[in-house]
Symmetry: C2
Subunit: 212 residues, 2 copies
């Protein structure tokens, strides 16, 4: 069985999304800058169907993360479409268009049941009976590979607080957001971390911790 | 003229001191763990008049920091003794005993005037006319070397907010404090950071940023 990994980009002041999140700015004001290091990266561009890009120490980090993940879990907020029941006539199908970049099974935590959504290369399964159910389904889908919780803050916190996470990877961006969603809100010293490694790369430091 | 550097230890959730700071626990509950990586280190032990210790990648970081600093600035809270006027009969002389580890001029920000305090190897000068005055005095004392703001959170924030800081070094400890004093409270995206380097070492990652 693979590990349960949380991987997320965070500002130096602890935010994984900026203030005033909206459909136009799903990561809030300034939040997209958390991922700027990735946009020009060869490994990221390849995973998103684009050509070219820079090779630097982040490349191996991204390639390893992509190779290890057999399934993703995300919160409803990261999948998007606003809170509440799904619109039966015109359902929200995610931010990513017809071919999302995951190319792996994705399990979406939601309070509102919905049939699976099959897009090119990625099927989204909506799980409304809790984080442990989503984890069991994701583990079954991932086989020997890891299950990766990719956001948002609340989904990460729920798995961390429940003691289910094996490894935490923070892509630490050299900026302050000054407001928004804090990754560790409500968590504290009960969460035990063991530093594993740090990888310095242009515009980001990748931090790896073993949890628990 | 040297740089103005802020150097401070921070938890992964952004705190430089834990909750419930007191005379017994000046760094608050759990706060001492922010510095655990240093206590066993050869370079730290030598600077604190102790023998032995481990050599690891933190050693060079600590040695460089010690060599570069020509003077220190600290807040009243870091110097200690509680808020308010100094006790004329039994003044607080710091946490560090007769021979403090600085062995350099130290400038203490305070609202309450006080004559300089000369201990073995270190003179504390109390500055009650603002952070720019303290910086000017520290620069004069430091000569070609750097001036280092060493804490607490409020002193660091004041210099950062005033746009006076050249370099920020965060010694990032692999733990959550869950409460206490946040380094970046009240600061935000106006503070521009450029990542310089990251040094991974046992129990800590040293992060260096150019500011402004």
């Amino acid at each position: 069985m693979g590990l349960l990994r949380v991987e997320i980009a965070m500002s130096l002041d602890g935010y994984v999304a900026g203030p005033d999140q909206s459909a136009d700015e799903p990561l809030g004001k300034g939040g997209e800058a958390l991922h700027e290091w990735a946009f020009a990266l060869d490994a990221w561009r390849q995973a998103h169907g684009r050509e070219g890009g820079d090779t630097n120490p982040s490349s191996a980090v991204v390639e390893e993360s992509l190779a290890r993940a057999g399934a993703h879990i995300m919160g409803r907020k990261m999948f998007g479409g606003g809170p509440g029941p799904w619109d039966a006539d015109d359902p929200w199908n995610g931010w990513w268009g017809e071919e999302p970049p995951f190319h792996k099974p994705v399990f979406v935590l939601t309070h509102h049941p919905r049939q699976p959504l099959e897009l090119t290369g990625t099927t989204f399964t909506f799980v409304s009976d809790g984080i442990e159910s989503a984890l069991a389904q994701a583990r079954a889908a991932a086989g020997d590979k890891d299950v990766q919780v990719s956001g948002g803050a609340e989904a990460c916190r729920q798995y961390l607080a429940a003691g289910l996470v094996d490894e935490l990877q923070i892509n630490l961006a050299p900026l302050l957001l000054g407001g928004g969603e804090r990754l560790f809100e409500g968590l504290g010293p009960d969460l035990k971390l063991e530093q594993q490694r740090a990888v310095e790369a242009p515009g980001v430091t990748h931090l790896f911790y073993r949890v628990g």
